[in-house]
Symmetry: D2
Subunit: 425 residues, 4 copies
């Protein structure tokens, strides 16, 4: 394999990460299966960290894309109007907004999550005339400097060359202070305290389930109360649905479970459905305080991504069968993960299961233990990653479209890997 990877080792920056966990060269992929250039197959429980909800090379989406290409549809046109964009807007309105009673305008910033977050918090500041943004412990919202201010991870925060981030405040996420403390009590006290040190924020930005932070799940009542507090204090509520959105939790938007309506929503990752870079910011119409061109970027409105995004909406979101199927699979994963957590606990390694929909994790407390499990699983043909501040949570982000066969095989591999680690330890 030396010959296969030396180009990377010579030419790729040290910053590379995932190839350290999975040091093979991949060649092809279909739905939940990746194949390396030696022909070995792997089931993919990482799926682009939540980017491939509809699987690798989804045939419906691929067909739409190739059709578009074959007729020389406009691929790149900055933010000019195209048929592809109109189709996307219309599908979004008909299939997503209307059935959910939502009314949003759409901003297409640069095609990445961090860019959507930068646009969202900047819009909030402009709309409210305040600079502060509240985010939460263990939150991840991107690494460009504006977004980084709201991202808790020290790995990134300490790599700014000493420049402190600005204009954001962290508050404890749901459950952060133990099960008997409602962390929103602290937020509300600070808001009402004229000398508590919290500048009244323009907005709160929150993930309903924290992916990178360790599959931490905000309670539905907590989310409702957060919305109420924001309304009471004239603060905008931004739900960052970049990882949890597009069906991952069993609903198109992860906040649907709580029955709340954010003022601003960010989506990316699985939005194109095909792994193409794409992102949008949704905003209540009255918040659209942008003047022409105040936020730009070359790749805003990437037409190929809008073509596949439209196809994905039509294929999976025309009725609720896809949602129900995700929830069905979620219960399978939940049950199996609970079993694993129990076996780990019984063997003296305390572990717990948590998640919402197919965004699930097993918190094994110890990052090294989690690494052993995922490394063992990789040897056995399962790509699965960890998250959490110390990488202590083994997480499932499998394609929502995974076949039951692959899902069960993957869970069997994970089961066996955990057992091997328990016995080997």
């Amino acid at each position: 394999m030396q010959s296969q990877t030396q180009t990377f080792e010579r030419m790729e920056s040290n910053v590379r990460t995932y190839s350290r966990s999975f040091p093979v060269v991949f060649k092809t992929a279909k739905n939940a299966r990746l194949v390396d250039e030696e022909g070995r197959e792997y089931i993919d429980f990482l799926a682009g960290a939540g980017t491939l909800n509809y699987g690798h090379n989804n045939p419906h989406l691929k067909e739409a894309m190739i059709d578009y290409l074959s007729t020389d549809g406009v691929v790149h046109g900055l933010d000019m109007w195209t048929q592809a964009k109109r189709d996307y807007f219309e599908a979004l309105e008909e299939l997503i907004f209307k059935p959910r009673g939502l009314d949003y305008k759409v901003h297409l910033p640069g095609p990445t999550g961090t860019n959507a977050v930068e646009a969202a918090i900047r819009l909030a500041r402009v709309a409210k005339g305040r600079h502060n943004i509240v985010s939460f412990t263990n939150g991840f919202h991107g690494v460009t400097m504006g977004a980084l201010a709201t991202t808790g991870n020290r790995k990134f925060r300490e790599a700014t060359g000493g420049v402190p981030t600005q204009a954001a405040s962290f508050l404890p996420y749901d459950g952060y202070m133990g099960e008997h403390t409602d962390t929103l009590d602290y937020f509300e006290k600070l808001l009402n305290d004229k000398s508590g040190g919290l500048d009244i924020p323009a907005a709160v930005i929150v993930e309903t389930v924290q992916g990178e932070g360790g599959i931490n799940v905000a309670g539905l009542d907590w989310l409702k109360r957060l919305e109420s507090i924001c309304r009471a204090h004239d603060i905008l509520l931004i739900v960052d649905d970049i990882q949890a959105g597009c069906g991952r939790t069993g609903k198109f938007f992860s906040f649907e479970h709580a029955g709340i309506t954010p003022d601003i929503v960010t989506n990316s990752k699985s939005l194109s459905g095909f792994g193409l870079p794409f992102a949008h910011v949704l905003m209540r119409p009255e918040l659209d305080k942008w003047k022409p061109g105040q936020y730009n970027g070359t790749f805003r409105g990437f037409n190929l991504a809008m073509v596949t995004a439209t196809a994905a909406l039509k294929k999976y979101w025309s009725n609720d069968s896809f949602e129900r199927d995700v929830q069905r699979k979620a219960r399978i994963v939940e049950e199996r993960f609970q079993g694993i957590a129990k076996r780990l606990s019984d063997s003296g390694k305390p572990a717990t299961e948590r998640g919402r929909g197919l965004m699930r994790g097993i918190d094994v407390v110890d990052g090294e233990l989690a690494d052993k499990i995922t490394a063992t699983a990789f040897e056995r043909g399962l790509i699965i990653e960890t998250s959490g501040q110390d990488g202590e949570v083994v997480k499932c982000l499998c394609p929502l479209t995974i076949t039951d066969e692959d899902l069960l095989e993957a869970l069997d591999i994970l089961d066996a890997s955990v057992d091997a680690v328990i016995q080997g330890a």
Copy 2:
């Protein structure tokens, strides 16, 4: 047309820009021609603001992409290793680095220019342990908060909701203080002055030709001296080649004309060759101070883009015939633009021509005049934009692959549009 655009008007954020200048709905595109849904054709002198150097739907690149898709090549894999990535690295090394005597490592950040700039300046800060970044008047390097600190445009700078950018200093670009002042004298004086207020920068970031800033061309001696000053003061030199790179100026890298070797280079826009979001940061190997994962992003290493980027390198950069052809066309544009500038000047509207390669502009001094010219040209079937602080420069960013017929037709349209404006005024 009301019926065709009302979806956009209802659903798209006010932030939209290019659709205001070109308010039609585009459908297809090939090389230098765009077609709207009424079937009307336009020659494209904007080309994605420099993103489509190889034209719309370049058949060689499209073929490579469809081949890759048809075999279910990995489209999205975070930064995992793929054959597509290795092919790209190898083509970059063989076709670009080696012939030019360059030795760089490659960082694939998020697939946008602003993301590449954020990564580049952050790396510079980490490598040098200093916070300041020097950029230049009229420079444009993106709008996420880290990059925005180096971008001169007030439209963006005033839309942060009041948050000041940090850790960057603007200095006058070549020619900014008139032809008799070498603006680098000021830079050098500040560096040597212990109380001049300039924090010794980690890096200078510069465009060799400023695109958004108004097709301002840095002299080759000025660039050489800038490199010398950076070397003398242990400051890194970052060339932002996002718009001017990939052949736009007649060389693959725009800095080749000056014979300088930047420490760090950013590329994006035309890097994929097909309008796909893609960006990389090149760095001298000894500057690769990143630790694993210190800078991330979901869409880093977008395989489809690497497939088309590789195809573009192989098609256009295996020998110097493409470069020579670009230079040939550049001379045609230069001559015609000089003619236009002369006619404008003769009619009492002082105008000058400038540029390098096929990055050329006519400075008509007055933004309203420039708007009239481009609006008239659009009516006649030419998409052409302005740049400069007041939109006073009519600019050519046509595909480098434009046919001579289209090039001459476009120049004829521009000629006629200018004449119409002269006569109408």
Copy 3:
């Protein structure tokens, strides 16, 4: 009185504050008594917000100052060496440091508290190579931009013209989250959490009793644990003893009660003993990372203030009789304040007493009620102010040297004022 105050109304900025509560023109003052130009006397329970611990025009200190002036001692000499400075250093060492087992070097910054705080936090950053400073809810550490980052009061924080403060994080002070929550659990959790959003701080800055914040008293165990946490995480502990120091709590340094040893201490306010501007920063010798002249200011080392400061140390701190007398008076105030709080509570206005030494307050919950009480007291000849985020705490900061007669008279006035308010309401 119109004629007496119209000059102020015409010429003094709207920013003025205390003259709004006490709108008379004062002329003379002695120990705890102020006299206005109509000859009316007031007992002073504000005492320069803790600046006049030894009373107005303390005769011992005044004599020292006049003696110094009469021999043409150097009044102003920047930071040059003078006999007055040496005398001060030696008194500090002999009377304060040695008996308490302390070993500090002394930095004389500009003669104000905010300046001392700016110097202290900057030194901490330089010494630790980290930018963040942790301060606490309701903390007050000054209003220049560096210090303001650690000050919780929105009144000041919102008057920066939109510029956000930087490089500081607020955490909940002792008791902030209710009596059953040890707020240091949250601090420790954040320190140990790699993605909690807390940048490891260079230092924690804390008041052992928060004066402006509402006479909030940190528990002695909480302070000890705070010191332990700082030691365990290599974080510097700064005690801001600007208001609570110089005997106010019954010890020279307020942190003596807890038996902790801060790495850095700031003092000002009563440090000169005579109301003269003066401040110093004390630091453990190994932290003295300053290079010559890295932090300066014209009035650092104000000799007249060092003359009176030396006289105050010699007069009041040569043995423990002054401390004991302060503690005796503190018990009187405590008892009377408890009585007032009880009467208020009994009348349906819940109130509590708190404090340490002669830094005591009655929290009447309601800022308007507190204002009524202090306004009534002023009519009856007592100058007493409120503090707390809403001005809801009636506070005693009387001279420590107040006579028992004046103390009891003042308490009688306050008693009567409270009763009048209770009855009038």
Copy 4:
């Protein structure tokens, strides 16, 4: 002397500066003479870096202060009204504002220059709703974090522990780019350039003569044009007259020479006249946007300083005789400095003289040479310091009240010191 200074060496922070140049212990001082504890006399050409314009222990001022103390006048009263404050305001209005046709309101911030600057720039931001402040190369405006943003000196700027200053931009001071370039052309071009990178500032802060920066003198036309530019662009003009004010340049305010009227003025240093900490901010009445208490500080309105300040105004500013005497002495110094510069130049060490009033310097180009001259002068009984980015300017800041005898003796010492250095070199 070991025994005399060991206390300092043991206990004083390394940050100390002036005692390194003048390592003796001073005891008494009168007008322009300092005496050390060995009884040795020195003529003082430093005078508290411009703080002692009326000399050490000025008898008129001392008398006023002792009278005030002896009647137990209020020394410290926060910002409460006192007779001393009213007297000061009235003297300021009658003796300073009215004769000069000025109309200002007065803000008394903390009693230091940096505090006055922080208050001034914050007020400008609040009044204009913009964050940027323009200051100039080699400017010095204090070292607390807000003021530091406008101070050019790297010694301070690099001692923030890595925290970058924010919300300020440096522009070239008059003459910075050579005598043929009007640096305001650059400022004006940037203001008119929508993408030049200069955020429209709330205010410009400028010293009419830069003291710490090297006795750089702004031309009167340059100052007038600066005022015009500010007016044209709705930018506030702040003159920082902390060092150049109070008669130093031969007028009470240094800007009187140029016939300009700043919107905001800061004074400190010699404002009390006696070396007591004191500062005020003057503002045009319509700019007084402060709300009560938005900017505070314990020692604002130091009554002793107002007593001496009032005495100084009455003694020296009731008519123009003091001004004329300063101008007379200035011509003596100018002539002698020109002679020294000529002798240095003739000996192969190029030197030039410059200044306004009694704020004068000899630029000897080389910091080491300047140090030799001042060290030699100190040996011979003259305290004189350097300024400029490299300490290359030997500067005169003697008391304005210096006797002709002392002035001439000091100049003789300087003459002889320069000659000794020339010969010794």
